[in-house]
Symmetry: C2
Subunit: 343 residues, 2 copies
Amino acid sequence: MTMSNTGGRRRPPTIHDVAREAGVSRGTVSRVLNGGHYVSPAAQEAVNAAIRKTGYVVNRHARSLITGRSDSVGFLLTEPQERFFEDPNFNVLLRGCTQALAAHDIPLLLMIAGTEDERRRITRYITAGHVDGVLLVSSHSGDPVAEQLREAGVPLVACGKPIGLGSKVSYVAADDRDGARDMVRHLLSLGRRRVGTVTGPLDTPGGVERLAGYREVLAEAGVPYDDNLVVSGDYSRASGEAGAERLLDQAPDVDAVFVASDLMAQGVLTALHRAGRRVPEDVAVGGFDDSPAAVAASPELTTIRQPWDRISNEMVRVLLAQIGGEDPAAVILPTELVRRASA
Amino acid sequence: MTMSNTGGRRRPPTIHDVAREAGVSRGTVSRVLNGGHYVSPAAQEAVNAAIRKTGYVVNRHARSLITGRSDSVGFLLTEPQERFFEDPNFNVLLRGCTQALAAHDIPLLLMIAGTEDERRRITRYITAGHVDGVLLVSSHSGDPVAEQLREAGVPLVACGKPIGLGSKVSYVAADDRDGARDMVRHLLSLGRRRVGTVTGPLDTPGGVERLAGYREVLAEAGVPYDDNLVVSGDYSRASGEAGAERLLDQAPDVDAVFVASDLMAQGVLTALHRAGRRVPEDVAVGGFDDSPAAVAASPELTTIRQPWDRISNEMVRVLLAQIGGEDPAAVILPTELVRRASA
DNA sequence: TTCTCTACTGTGAACGCTCACAGAAGCATT
DNA sequence: AATGCTTCTGTGAGCGTTCACAGTAGAGAA
């Protein structure tokens, strides 16, 4: 605990100081620092003692200069704006990734590429090798940054299957389709037959997959597909509200709604309430995400939990593997139905 | 736009390549890179052209190695856990800081020090000089990390006035007391006389100041102070709900509640609704933050807007000034009353 | 002319680390 | 004894910058 830093606040100890203190050479200290192979137990011990005594911390800049690695990764958001604030998933993802990386002693650089200008600057920064890899959070397709990074050979892991890109980019995603299937099956099991849906944006993988799951289950159950029961939203609360109104208008006999996000489901609840429909008695409502919004809603939302903690862990694992030279990989994780009051 | 990177994906251009291309020396290129003083217009031009042609990007590690600066700053959270998820302010603060820093081409490193272990590692990392300064987000007092960083002479700017520390630490805060005064004055102006409050945690500056504002205005208005009208929460939704129940119990004639955060106000609304009180007819409710929760609530919350965009900008400005050698400074920014349906 | 001053430019030496290499032991095999 | 191995250790070189310093050239003053 005691740093022998007596007096001068100047000049932190270097590997040289440690070497002198331990009575060995720089090389040996360096070897201890990097895994301790080919180091005698005695030297090992002496070096560790010297490190403790001097309070030595490796200078990452010097290391990076020679290794060419930066030992840091970027967390890149390419969303326009709103999603960042509205979407609670970002938080838990960001937190999860930060901590998973911290376990490897790798700092996370937060990068937000909203405007064209920011995009250019950040692409430059990344391709210049200032980070070893990138965790990409961008739901919409046709993301030019992702494409550029992929071409530049930057290790990359996306959150959710990127639509535009080829198959050579890693991603980690929850099993959206299966989650949707679970929810719709649940609604059917409650005896509902006029099951509507408010989809996510259909240029996002989540939006597409959840809708696909919805249709599959209805088809399997022999429930006829009705266009009037399908409206689309953009994951925002307001769009959920508008969607529900359209739904009530087009199909007044709707008795259940599968909503592709909890936030939209909040909006749906508002609209249903205003229309005098009781939830879940008249209309059962199922959300998606299991975000804080789900328990904040009244009644509390039955929803699909996405395993965000696992997702962030996997993203980091796959990224580090890729930085280590492994090939890209796709990881799909199962979801879970969480039953609450709304269905 | 065209990077003449034909063929070899190897070895990015160095300052040397640029110098050769421009027909000048490393020194001149370096001077152009660092402000262009003592460089002839001709050389300036030639170097810029060479930079464009080669696609050169400065190697920050090499630069940092010699300058001793890292040209990056840390964004440090020392909250236990929950706040990070629950508090929408974090998001906008984080985003604001990232972008304000991006304007200076400075990356932001996200650091989360939840456990004792993480705290130690991060303190070490920071004091080793891997970041030039720290933006500190920690509401609770007695934060050991802040104290250690201050002692180590690390440039530091806190968000909100740190309770435990001396006056020698910079901070940027909204004028909590004045905001509370505005809100309570507003409630009184509606004719309410039994104005209760659900405070924030009283070991946070926000909690203390908002309560102080509440008491001041009541005193000024000659409304007698009643202990039964004051309950405390922890900024969480649940604590707001519990607080409102206690309030209704202790002072059934309450006709207005000033709640120290929107999230708690949501809980208050739930409890009032359950108790059969109408908002705002029976009980007017005022929140604090103007977070997304304010418009998500029904009825929409009258609240106090904190100028988060300005707060983040100021935090960055003060931090950079401090890194540049200036003395610590405190900045207090005005709040704004936002009238909606709940009061 | 000669000197001084200013504006500009080039050059070696760091910065703190890792890497490749050379060597020194110790031990077993020829 | 000579040779191979394996394990361990020290030493120079160099990563790409910036910085201090030593120059050079040109303008103006003595």
